[in-house]
């Protein structure tokens, strides 16, 4: 296995960016989602609208930010409003093509937990909660999750459903009344995963160069659907790496 000349963050950003089509409306959060979206915007998708849930649209950050509430994320925004102007008249109106989400845990049905995990004894540890995540998971046409590939994070069942995926096998999501399309991609540091949307289950789509299939399977807490032939994830191009390193994240804060 040749040593790759790119980092895990870089192939994740590149894989995420390639899933984005020009002209789409995309809700992004801090970190790799934003990096992936900016990479797409700087290459094949210059006309995407990036949306920040609390009311910022069309921004073009030039300095690394510490979160969505950091005005660095709002630089050169072309629209300010409130949650109502983003999660309302974009998302609930059915006009968000891709919602990026992170989570503490994701399960085989794409359900996500960002609220709490059990601690020692009967205790719980409480985390960030939903923010807009539940709404985005419920209502966006496609959900893209970017996360580390670890068995404790990719679980058979999450401990708390903060943000619904397919909820369970079959058409449970639709019968529950959820209008968005549901989970669509999970980009990890080992693979690109997708979903069999009819069955509501996670499926392995490609493995990053240099990663073994067993490594993926062992670090996943449930059985992944997969085709017999598994392609390798296309690695980042020289142009993409140059953009990532020199323009989008020059201080290496996220990648």
């Amino acid at each position: 296995m040749p040593e790759a000349n790119y980092s895990k963050g870089e192939i994740m950003a590149a894989a995420g960016a390639r899933e984005i089509k020009d002209g789409q409306n995309i809700v992004v959060g801090l970190g790799l989602p934003q990096v992936a979206a900016l990479l797409a915007k700087n290459t094949h998708a210059p006309n995407i609208s990036m949306i920040n849930e609390q009311g910022v649209v069309g921004f073009s950050p030039v300095d690394p930010a510490v979160g969505m509430a950091d005005p660095r994320m709002w630089y050169k925004a072309t629209y300010f409003n409130s949650f109502i102007g983003t999660l309302g008249s974009f998302l609930h109106r059915g006009k968000v093509d891709i919602g990026f989400l992170g989570a503490l845990e994701v399960d085989q049905f794409g359900n996500m937990n960002s609220t709490m995990v059990g601690g020692p004894g009967n205790t719980i540890r409480h985390f960030t909660g939903s923010g807009g995540a539940n709404d985005i998971a419920s209502l966006a046409k496609n959900i893209m999750i970017i996360m580390r590939h670890e068995k404790r994070k990719l679980r058979a069942a999450v401990q708390y459903i903060t943000s619904p995926g397919y909820l369970g096998e079959g058409n449970l999501r639709q019968s529950t009344g959820l209008k968005g399309g549901g989970p669509w991609r999970v980009i990890t540091d080992k693979a690109v995963l997708g979903f069999d949307r009819a069955r509501g289950r996670m499926k392995l789509l490609s493995i990053h160069p240099g990663v073994e299939l067993d490594d993926v399977l062992e670090n996943t807490g449930f059985e992944l659907l997969r085709d017999e032939q598994l392609p390798a994830t296309v690695p980042p191009t020289a142009e993409e790496l140059k953009l990532l390193r020199e323009v989008i994240d020059p201080t290496g804060m996220y990648i």
């Binding site: 920040n52 950091d70 985390f127 939903s130 995540a133 419920s138």
Partner: protein
């Protein structure tokens, strides 16, 4: 023509809050928080408060840490990469406060509906989640799963929210209450949902100027009860176009709030142990610090 002067001191405005009130504070994570108000509520030892926010923020975390809060209604939150809302998470883990946890949009719609005087409003997220399951299990229901009578679609009906008082930190206001918010305004509808609105402005502008800035006026005088002039009142959180967040102080806060003892020490050092917000500003670095965090005119941070 005489214009109604609604200017009050911070302590007067906060003194009008009754124990047990339902308050809204304007913070979102580490931006445009009503920090001066939170400090004064703590110094005046207000108790048994209900707080509601779309996204939890430092202003609420301070009040929970000071033991002033009985119930917190929110949609999740953090201090961005400075850390979690230590006091709020700890109070939830220990069952020390009542918590109604929603999502960002469901809180926003509850406030929007409240701002319009609607008794309830529907939403089509929450379905299928444990957030909804938890809320439905509560004794006082504020959510109900139902169907649209016109389309047959499933929806969640939410009881709307109308806080007693909203404290909203803004960039500029005139003395009659016309308030200018620049940048995103996650708090605009929540403010209008409240029965009384108290504007806390970093800068007071003359009423003659207001018509020239009308496109940026987000809360109209007719809805505002009081105006407080409090420069740097959002510190250490950022005020878009005016000052950046104070990285140094937020790091100190996040580190001290990590433990109950550390939090009490923070409150003693910066809130209860100082005379007023001016003394706090001196304690965190005074003029030199404020010059350092001044926002760049183009970048706005």
């Amino acid at each position: 023509m005489v214009k109604l002067n609604k200017i009050r001191s911070l302590s007067e405005a906060v003194a009008s809050v009754r124990d047990g009130s339902h308050l809204f504070l304007s913070g979102f994570a580490i931006s445009r928080n009503a920090i001066a108000v939170a400090h004064e509520l703590i110094r005046q030892n207000k108790r048994e408060l209900t707080l509601s926010q779309c996204i939890g923020a430092m202003d609420a975390d301070l009040l929970v840490g000071a033991g002033a809060v009985k119930r917190y209604i929110y949609g999740g939150g953090s201090l961005d990469r400075f850390g979690p809302l230590w006091n709020i998470n700890r109070a939830i883990e220990q069952g020390a406060i009542e918590v109604d946890e929603f999502s960002g949009l469901s809180m926003a719609l509850r406030f929007l509906g409240g701002s319009l005087g609607l008794p309830c409003i529907p939403i089509q997220s929450l379905l299928g989640s444990d957030i909804l399951k938890n809320l439905l299990n509560k004794e006082v229901p504020e959510v109900k799963v139902t169907e649209c009578p016109f389309t047959g679609e499933k929806m969640v009906l939410l009881k709307t929210l109308q806080p007693d008082v909203a404290f909203v930190h803004v960039q500029k206001a005139d003395c009659t209450g016309n308030a200018i918010i620049q940048g995103p305004r996650w708090d605009e509808d929540a403010a209008k949902a409240a029965d009384q609105i108290v504007i806390v402005a970093d800068e007071i502008i003359p009423t003659e100027l207001t018509p020239f800035l009308v496109e940026e006026v987000r809360i109209p005088a007719g809805r505002v009860s009081m105006v407080v002039h409090q420069p740097y009142g959002a510190h250490p959180t950022s005020l878009y176009g005016v000052y950046d967040y104070d990285r140094e102080h937020l790091t100190e806060y996040a580190s001290m709030a990590r433990t109950p003892d550390g939090m009490q020490e923070y409150l003693d050092r910066y809130v209860r142990g100082v005379k007023d917000f001016s003394a706090y500003l001196e304690a965190v670095g005074g003029l030199e610090k404020m010059i350092r965090i001044k926002a760049d005119a183009l970048k706005k941070y």
